[in-house]
């Protein structure tokens, strides 16, 4: 059940190869950056940005999202929205709870004062 339109496969293959190259380069970059041992906040930001770029490349070209119908976009948009909710609430809650978490390894005096 080929639903492919008139676009030529040869053109696609060329795009695939370019994306392949970009993914390889980005992988090398993210590994190299990690060897700099950046402070966690900056490291996470860069690592996440590169990973998101790579994932978008795969989704856009390999998964043909660039040529896909609106319904699929809608479905993915809905999923991403609920995914963000699923991320946000436990993380916000976790942040708010920090003062309440017990750490037994802390020194006695601090423990007593809380």
């Amino acid at each position: 059940m080929s639903d492919h339109k008139a676009h030529s496969e040869a053109a696609h293959v060329k795009i695939y190869m370019m994306v392949f190259g970009a993914l390889m380069v980005l992988t090398i970059v993210t590994v190299l950056v990690s060897y700099l041992h950046l402070p966690p906040a900056l490291g996470i930001l860069i690592g996440l940005a590169i990973a998101t770029t790579k994932a978008s490349l795969v989704a856009t070209f390999f998964m043909h999202l660039k040529w896909e119908r609106r319904l699929i976009y809608g479905l993915l948009g809905l999923t991403v929205f609920f995914m963000i909710v699923l991320f946000a609430v436990p993380i916000v809650d976790n942040h708010g709870l920090k003062p309440n978490i017990i750490h037994y390894d802390q020194p006695a005096a601090e423990e007593a004062h809380h």
Binding site: L78, F82, V85, V92, D93, G96, L97, I102, Y104
Partner: protein
């Protein structure tokens, strides 16, 4: 493989043998009936479990009559149940009723059988996946049942399975494995429902011509699709905690029974609660939306007029579905969650009440100007309205964090939940059974016995759950093995007795229903293909429909509820009829 005749032939090969036709069938109607009978069994089984609990609650520490002596020594020595058995019953009652009873009945049975018919499709989009969905549900269910007899027994940590209790309690591993089966079943089913609804509609069946029931099933399927995976992942993490000794939900330095636990710690008990309720709140709408769809169909049919605000009803359902993902933490106001978050969830919870009110209002206003036939299905659909109203209204003090401080984890919560799910959903599902019975079997159930069943059931259900509000207001805590062990439960103990006696009567009241149901399958009064004079496509094919459902693909010319059109000869015009005669 290109046209209908070949399609029929293709599956016709299976029809000769019993196994292909009734066991591993790919026909949505057979699968629907498989779900129907299986989930009815589980509902009765779950009900039996709660009768045992109710006996213990009303007459703590006394011998369970009739079956007490049959229970093994490890559960109920001398016929008196042990606390561990009581906790198992509580956990299994909740799990079985929700995941093995109501959802498979509302979605698996009614959805599977009726949805393809109502959109004019010959079958589901993925018939074999449909079969796999049932055959993932059944082993999951059997495993749940078996868990009573496995070493360690059945789960004892409530259907919510809060860790660390669920990690240290026996029996939980079986529960988690069975849940993975059930979740897989639901995911397979929901993908099938969504694709079927989007891609398999008969010509002319635009989205805004779909019956409300189809919309309800469609929204439900989306909820199942996106809400269940988090529970699946959370269950896997809990399974790891139990089997591999990890500490996803176990904080450091737990001391159980005077001994330090082996787990290294570093986990978060609240994480499970977030992930669990991320599923379990949408799950409530999975329980109620198909019921609302059924009620809407029955009301439109029996008032002989279009529904009030069809688009408002559909819009409210979609809005409910979407909002149901952002209200879950109102189950966690007192869990130790960051208090500021409660205010956010208070607001979303109040927002979600608005579409619920809108739905109920539309259904009630649909009665205005109608010509109401008090058939048995209609009685059930009508009873749904005030009963669901009570369930919804009592959600108000629970959704307010301040009043929830007092009512949380009391019998008030149980009363609220059961008013929504039992007097709401189950009443609607019973009505749906009477309504579609002629479709399933080509025969009618007895009206007289149906009315008897209705009135006794309604009365007994209120007798079971109304006392719970009184107990809850007096502060009585839930999930207590022996309510008389605590002072604050003593004064309301008579209410437990009322509730228990009503529950026993309620079980008795189901006997006429079961007899009526099974007798009518074989000996009921035969009827034509559309005895209720319904407009939707499910009644445009023979009863029961043959393989492939429609003799030729139907074509839809009008909306779903064309009743009492002025100038028309009959007071109903089916969707597939072109001209008003």
């Amino acid at each position: 493989m290109k046209d209908h005749s070949e399609h029929g032939e293709h599956n016709g090969a299976h029809q000769d043998d019993f196994v292909g036709k009734y066991i591993f069938s790919v026909d949505h109607k057979v699968i629907g009936l498989q779900y129907l009978f299986t989930s009815m069994f589980f509902l009765l089984f779950g009900f039996t479990l709660v009768l045992l609990m109710r006996w213990q609650l009303a007459y703590p520490g006394t011998r369970i009559p009739l079956i007490g002596s049959l229970l093994p020594l490890s559960l109920a020595p001398g016929g008196v149940m042990l606390p561990s058995f009581y906790n198992s019953l509580g956990a299994m009652h909740g799990t079985i009723m929700v995941f093995l009873g109501i959802v498979p009945l509302g979605v698996g049975a009614f959805g599977n059988y009726v949805l393809p018919l109502q959109i004019g499709a010959p079958d589901m989009a993925f018939p074999r996946m449909n079969m796999m969905s049932y055959w993932s549900y059944l082993p999951g269910g059997c495993l749940m049942l078996l868990s009573f007899f496995l070493p360690g027994g059945a789960a004892q940590s409530g259907w919510t399975s809060y860790p660390p209790l669920s990690v240290i309690n026996p029996g939980q591993t079986t529960w988690l494995i069975a849940m993975v089966f059930l979740i897989t079943s639901s995911l397979l089913g929901s993908i099938n429902f969504i694709v079927t609804t989007l891609n398999m509609r008969a010509q002319g069946m635009t989205l805004w011509r779909m019956p409300v029931f189809v919309w309800a099933q469609f929204v439900t399927a989306i909820l199942l699709l996106l809400a269940f995976p988090p529970l699946e992942a959370a269950s896997i993490l809990q399974l790891m905690d139990r089997v591999a000794g990890t500490s996803f939900y176990i904080p450091a330095n737990l001391v159980v029974g005077g001994k330090l636990l082996d787990h290294t710690g570093g986990g978060q008990p609240l994480l499970w609660q977030h992930l669990f309720w991320f599923l379990a709140h949408p799950e409530v709408y999975v329980l109620i939306l198909p019921a609302m769809g059924i009620v809407a169909e029955i009301i439109a049919n029996n008032t002989r007029k279009p529904l009030f605000g069809y688009k408002e009803i559909v819009g409210a359902m979609i809005f409910l579905g979407g909002m149901s993902f952002v209200v879950w933490a109102h189950h966690m106001f007192l869990s130790g969650m960051t208090p500021a978050l409660s205010n956010f969830f208070l607001v979303t919870t109040m927002i979600i009440s608005v579409p619920s009110v809108a739905l109920l209002t539309c259904l009630v206003f649909s009665l205005h100007g109608g010509s109401i036939r008090f058939t048995v299905p209609m009685l059930f659909a009508l009873a749904f309205l005030p009963m669901f109203g009570i369930g919804g209204l009592t959600g108000l003090p629970l959704g307010m964090p301040v009043t929830d401080i007092y009512l949380h984890d009391t019998y008030y919560v149980i009363g609220h939940f059961h008013y929504v799910v039992v007097t709401g959903t189950i009443i609607a599902l019973m009505g749906g059974t009477y309504f579609w019975f002629p479709k399933w079997f080509g025969r009618r159930m007895s009206e007289g016995w149906g009315k008897f069943h209705f009135w006794t059931t309604l009365l007994c259900m209120n007798g079971v759950f109304m006392p719970m509000f009184i107990m809850g207001m007096a502060g009585a805590s839930r999930r207590l093995y022996d309510p008389t062990a605590q002072l604050h439960n003593l004064t309301t103990q008579p209410m437990n007795v009322v509730s228990t006696i009503s529950a026993i009567l309620l079980m008795t009241a189901q006997i006429p229903f079961l007899v009526n149901f099974f007798y009518s399958i074989f000996h009921g009064e035969k009827c034509d293909s559309n005895p209720w004079h319904v407009t939707t496509l499910d009644w445009a094919c023979p009863s029961p429909p043959p393989h492939g459902n429609f003799a030729k693909p139907p074509r839809v010319y009008r909306g779903p509820y064309e009743y009492s059109l002025p100038g028309a000869k009959a007071d109903w015009i089916p969707q597939d009829v072109k001209e008003a005669a």
